[in-house]
Amino acid sequence: MERRRLRNWVLGLLGWLAALVMFFPIFWMTITAFKTEQEAYQPGLFFIPTLESFREVFARSRYADYALNSIFISFGSTLLCFLLAIPAAYRMAFFPTRKTQSMLLWMLSTKMMPAVGVLLPVYLLFRSAGLLDSIRGLILIYALMNLPICVWMTYTYFCEIPAAILEAARVDGAGFCSEIRHVLAPMALPGLASTALLLIILSWNEAFWSLNLTSAHAAPLTVFIASYSSPEGLFWAKLSAASLLAVAPILVLGWLTQKQLVSGLTLGAVK
C-alpha cells in the first residue's frame, strides 16, 4: 500500500509540473497584458495592473470585427464539415466494405501533409474563384481541413450504435433523414458535441490559411494577433493584450466544456 501511495504522489506531482509548464506561457501572457510597456520588458511578478494596453489595442484596431469573423468562420466551417461528414460516416459505419478501413486511413493521411506544400495552388485557385479575403473561402478551406478528423470521430461514434436500432427504425418507417434526426443524432449527441467543440477550437486557432488567404475583410483573430508583430518592433504589453483578447473566448469555452471534450476524445480510444 505504501508503495502505491508514494507512486500516486509522485505521479500527481509530475502531473502538476506538466500542467504548470503548459500553463506558464498563458499565465505570463496574461500578466504581461496588464503591465505597461516598460514593465513588460522586465520579467517581474509584482506590478501594478493597468488597462492601458487594452485601451490602446481597442483604439488601434477594431477587435469586434476580427472576433465576429472568427466566430462566423469557426462555426460555419464546423457546420459545413458535419454536413459532409455525417453521410460519409453513416455509410462507413453501417455499410462497411473491405475498402472502408483503407479509405479512412487515406483520409487521415491527408492531414499529414504540411499545408505549406499546397499554399501556392490553393492561393491561385482562391484567387481565380474570387474567394480570397472572404469568409466563404475560409469556411470552405477549414471545413476541408477538418473533414478527415470529423469523419473519423463521427465514424467511431456511429460504430457504437447497434445496427439493430437503425433496422428497428427502418421497420418503423424511417427514411435516411428521419434516421439521422430521430435516432442517430440523439444517440451520438455527446460524441458529436465534443467533435464539434474540437473542430471549433481547431478552426479558431488556425493561423496558416487565415494569414495567407485574408487581408482586410475576412481576417479572423489570428491575423489580429499577428498584426501586432510590426516592423516597429514587438510591443510586448500590447501584443499580450491582443493575444489575450483573441484567446480568451476559446479558453472560456474550453474550460466550460472540458468534461465533454475529454470524454469525447477518450471514448473512442477505450473501445
Partner: protein
C-alpha cells in the same frame, strides 16, 4: 459434404392461384447469396426455399447457428435484398417493398429500443413517422401498453427497465403497428431461464388472442417445440423438414432433424445390416463385441433390401429402459459412462459394444459411473436411416 436432399419443390403454381388470406406468407424459391466486393459469391445463406405459411399460424424457424434462419426472416422483413425467388405477403409480391410497406413488425434479439426515448415514445415512434394524429397515437399506444402490462412504465427510459420489461416494450412496439405478420428474431435469447419461460407463455397467449401470423426464429429446439404450430428445421440455408412438433419428433425425415429435435438427443448409431442365422440384425461399429440388435417386425421390413449396407440406427432415450423383457424388446448390456440425476428421472450415458447410447431411467435409484447393466431397446419405436443419403428409411 452430402447434405440430405432438400424438401422436393411443389409443382409449379397454376396460372390462377386461389387468393391468399391477409396474413399468409409464401416463399417461392427464395435464395440469398452474399458476394464479395468483386461480385463473386462467397456465402449461400439461403438456397431455394419454398414455404407456405397459413394466415394466423405460428411458424418456427429453428436450426443451428449459421443455418440461414435469421437471414430468411430478414428477407421476409425487407432488411436484406433478395438474390432470387419471390416473397408474397397476403398474396402480394413484396420483393421490392420497404419494410414499412410490407405489413410486418419485427421484434429483435437485443430489443433494439431507442435509448433516448421514453417507453411511450418508443411505442409511438412508428405512428409519429406515419404522421397520425396525436389522439390516435395515444389511444393505440395505451391499448398496446395495457395488453402487455406496461401502463406504469410509459414515462421511463429503457435503461430503467429490466430485461423482461424491455422485451415487452419491443413487443408493444410491434403490436402498435397492427401488422399482418409478426417477425421474431430470437427474442428470448438474452433473458434468464425463468423470464424466458414467462415470456414464452406471454407470446403464446398473444398469438392465441390476436390470431395473427407469427414467424419465430430460434436456435432453441425446446422453444420451437413448445411454441410452434409448425416447425421448419433448417441447415445450411436449406429446409430439412417442415411439420408440426409431434410429427417432427416421432417421424424425423432425416438424420439431422432426428438428432436436432429432442432433448436429450436421439442416439444415432452407425452400423450395417447383416444376416445372422437367417435373420436380419443391425450390427454397430466397434468390431468384435459390437452391439447387435435383431431387426424384427416393422424394422425387418425396412431393412430387407439393405443387407450389407450401411445404416444408422436411431433410438430416443425414453425407448431405452431398464424394465423390459417383452418380445418387442431387445436386450443390450451397457456400461454407464455418466449419470445425470434429474430428480424424477435420471439420464444415463451408456456404452454398448462400441456404440454410445442415451437412456432414461426412473430417478429413485442412483446410478453410478462404471456400473454395468442390461438395458432394453424398444424395437418398434426405433428409427432407421440410410447412412449415405441421411434420409429416414420409411415404408413407402
Amino acid at each position: 459434404m452430402t447434405a440430405a436432399a432438400p424438401i422436393p419443390t411443389p409443382p409449379a403454381a397454376a396460372a390462377a392461384d386461389p387468393p391468399l388470406a391477409d396474413g399468409s406468407v409464401r416463399l417461392r424459391n427464395l435464395s440469398k447469396t452474399y458476394a464479395d466486393d468483386r461480385g463473386r459469391p462467397v456465402c449461400h445463406a439461403v438456397q431455394g426455399i419454398n414455404l407456405e405459411i397459413q394466415d394466423g399460424e405460428l411458424l418456427v424457424l429453428v436450426g443451428p447457428s449459421g443455418c440461414g434462419k435469421s437471414t430468411t426472416l430478414r428477407l421476409i422483413a425487407g432488411l436484406e435484398s433478395i438474390s432470387g425467388g419471390t416473397i408474397e405477403i397476403g398474396g402480394r409480391v413484396v420483393n421490392q417493398a420497404e419494410p414499412k410497406d410490407r405489413g410486418i413488425a419485427m421484434v429483435f434479439q437485443n430489443y433494439a429500443l431507442y435509448p433516448h426515448m421514453t417507453v411511450f415514445d418508443n411505442l409511438a415512434f412508428g405512428l409519429k413517422l406515419a404522421k397520425k394524429e396525436k389522439a390516435f397515437i395515444r389511444e393505440a399506444v395505451l391499448r398496446a401498453a395495457t395488453t402487455l402490462g406496461l401502463e406504469g412504465l410509459l414515462e421511463r427510459k429503457p435503461q430503467a427497465l429490466s430485461g423482461g420489461q424491455r422485451q415487452r416494450v419491443a413487443l408493444g412496439r410491434a403490436l402498435v403497428r397492427n401488422p399482418k405478420v409478426f417477425l421474431f428474431d430470437e427474442p428470448l435469447s438474452n433473458l434468464d431461464a425463468k423470464m424466458r419461460v414467462q415470456m414464452r407463455a406471454e407470446i403464446a397467449r398473444l398469438h392465441s388472442s390476436l390470431k395473427t401470423t407469427m414467424i419465430y426464429v430460434t436456435h432453441d429446439q425446446v422453444e420451437a417445440m413448445t411454441m410452434g404450430d409448425r416447425i421448419c428445421v433448417m441447415r445450411d440455408g436449406v429446409l430439412m423438414q417442415v411439420a408440426d412438433p409431434l410429427t417432427l419428433y416421432r417421424r424425423p425425415q432425416n438424420l439431422f432433424v432426428a438428432g436436432f429435435i429432442g432433448s436429450p438427443p436421439m442416439s444415432l448409431l452407425p452400423g450395417r445390416v447383416e444376416s445372422r442365422d437367417g435373420r436380419l440384425a443391425f450390427v454397430g461399429g466397434g468390431g468384435d463385441g459390437a452391439l447387435t440388435v435383431p431387426l424384427t417386425g416393422r424394422l425387418e421390413q425396412l431393412a430387407r433390401g439393405r443387407i450389407g449396407r450401411k445404416i444408422v440406427f436411431g433410438l430416443r432415450p425414453e425407448h431405452l429402459n431398464v424394465a423390459g423383457g417383452e418380445a418387442t424388446h431387445a436386450p443390450a448390456s451397457c456400461l454407464i459412462e455418466m449419470a445425470e440425476p434429474m430428480g424424477a428421472e435420471s439420464i444415463l450415458y451408456l456404452k454398448a459394444g462400441g456404440s454410445s447410447l442415451i437412456g432414461r431411467v426412473p430417478g429413485e435409484r442412483l446410478y453410478k459411473k462404471g456400473e454395468k447393466l442390461t438395458m432394453h431397446i424398444h424395437l418398434e419405436k426405433a428409427h432407421l436411416f440410410d447412412a449415405e443419403s441421411e434420409n429416414a428409411i420409411t415404408e413407402t
